[in-house]
Amino acid sequence: MLHFDCGSCNGCDIETLACLTPVYDIERFGVINVGNPMHADILLVTGTVNPRNKKVLVNLYDQMPNPKVVVAIGSCGLSGGIFKDAYNVLGGIDKVIPVDVYVPGCPAKPEAIIDGVVMALKKYEVIKKKHSDSVPSRMKWRKIAP
């Protein structure tokens, strides 16, 4: 699981990190927070997208090997939320990359986030099946970010 703070107010980030603490302990489901998109299967995104961090978000998404799932967290991640009308905000995460699971709330509760992640894991299985049917036998060369 990779967590990317895409311009959130930090409310959702704190709730996301709370999932790792002893109280919620998301490692029960075998999920750990990694800092490396190349090791991640689930991309958690909090906050709104703007023209600047859009490139970073797309780059992170591209660096994750298939199959992968994306979870958008908080009202901001879903639609732009309270910042929707700001001049620099493009809207929700799904304006830039395909989103598989939406977790609402402002901020989203840790229970809801864990629910979303577990749902994402289920969806991951489905995507994996589809992926293994169409898996290319050749190696893919990763584009190195400029």
């Binding site: 490692e27 800092g35 490396n36 190349m38 090997p65 060369w141």
Partner: protein
């Protein structure tokens, strides 16, 4: 002949299973020590199976080659261990594997891989002398590098080589990538240099490295077990206690810098080993 085949079979197939299981138990115990519940025991296997089913993505083809080379070197050294071969040979093959991981990481241009690779080299530099000294100590005591002869030796080596066993503990901590020596992959501090040497390995290649790491765990724990080679029960208890202490150390210490690591490991490890070697020579 049948025994040889059995040893090869155990070395190749049973050790990764055991290594993964140890890894799973390690994660559970660590979680319990931190007041969490932790993942299922089989989680490392789920992870590796998942990684194997992912898309192959490489920065350049050398990475794939290095991952395979590491896995084969690790597997060969473990098989040789089960064949009761020469300890020095085993150590050098294991070192070749460790260097291949570094080469693979250096073949990418990512700064995180590069920093991680350099740190990994420094780690190898810190623990290899200790491993060689441990083997030298065993040689001085029983007059042979062969594991066969160690098993034939009448009494547990740990009474004669207690300081060398502690020195081996340092090497074990570094090799297991445990705190305070988890510099190269920043195992707990993943925001620091992302994942260090492992940053650019992904999908199936990461799985290969992980399986190689399981082989490595078993090899080093096997080295520990040689210190109580007279009976199975003593062997297992010694290894279990050592590993539990490793987990404790991992949980109570913070990550240090590489300068501290080299200074400390060399000062402590080499002193302990040399004191022990002098002791054997005098006795």
């Amino acid at each position: 002949m049948r025994e040889t085949l059995l040893a090869i079979f155990i070395g190749l197939f049973a050790t990764p299973l055991l290594g993964g299981l140890i890894n799973g138990l390690d994660r559970i115990i660590t979680a319990r020590l931190q007041g969490r519940i932790g993942p299922p025991v089989w989680q490392p296997f789920y992870d590796v199976i998942k990684l194997l089913s992912k898309e192959k993505m490489v920065v350049n083809v050398w990475q794939a080659f290095c991952a395979y080379a590491y896995l084969s070197a690790a597997a060969i050294s473990v098989v040789l261990f089960f064949l009761k071969s020469d300890l020095l040979l085993i150590l050098f093959i294991q070192a070749v594997g460790a260097v291949f991981v570094v080469i693979g990481a250096l073949s990418s241009t990512s700064p995180f891989s590069q920093v991680g690779a350099h740190r990994e080299l420094l780690q190898i530099l810190s623990y290899e002398p200790l491993l060689i000294l441990v083997v030298a100590g065993i040689y001085l005591e029983i007059g042979s590098f062969k594991i066969d002869d160690i098993y034939a030796w009448g009494q547990p080596l740990i009474f004669k080589l207690p300081f060398l066993f502690i020195a081996l503990g340092y090497a074990l901590t570094i090799k297991l990538r445990k705190s305070p020596f988890d510099l190269s992959t920043s195992h707990h501090g993943h925001q620091e240099i992302v994942k260090g040497v492992l940053t650019d390995y992904s999908g199936p290649f990461l799985a290969l490295i992980e399986i190689g790491h399981w082989y490595d765990i078993i090899l080093i724990l096997g080295l520990c077990s040689l210190f109580w080679a007279t009976g199975w029960i003593g062997m297992i208890i010694l290894v279990a206690i050592t590993y539990f202490i490793e987990i404790l150390i991992d949980n109570v210490t913070a990550r240090m810098t590489w300068r501290w690591m080299i200074g400390y490991v060399w000062a402590m490890g080499l002193t302990l080993s040399i004191v022990n070697l002098i002791w054997i020579n005098l006795a």
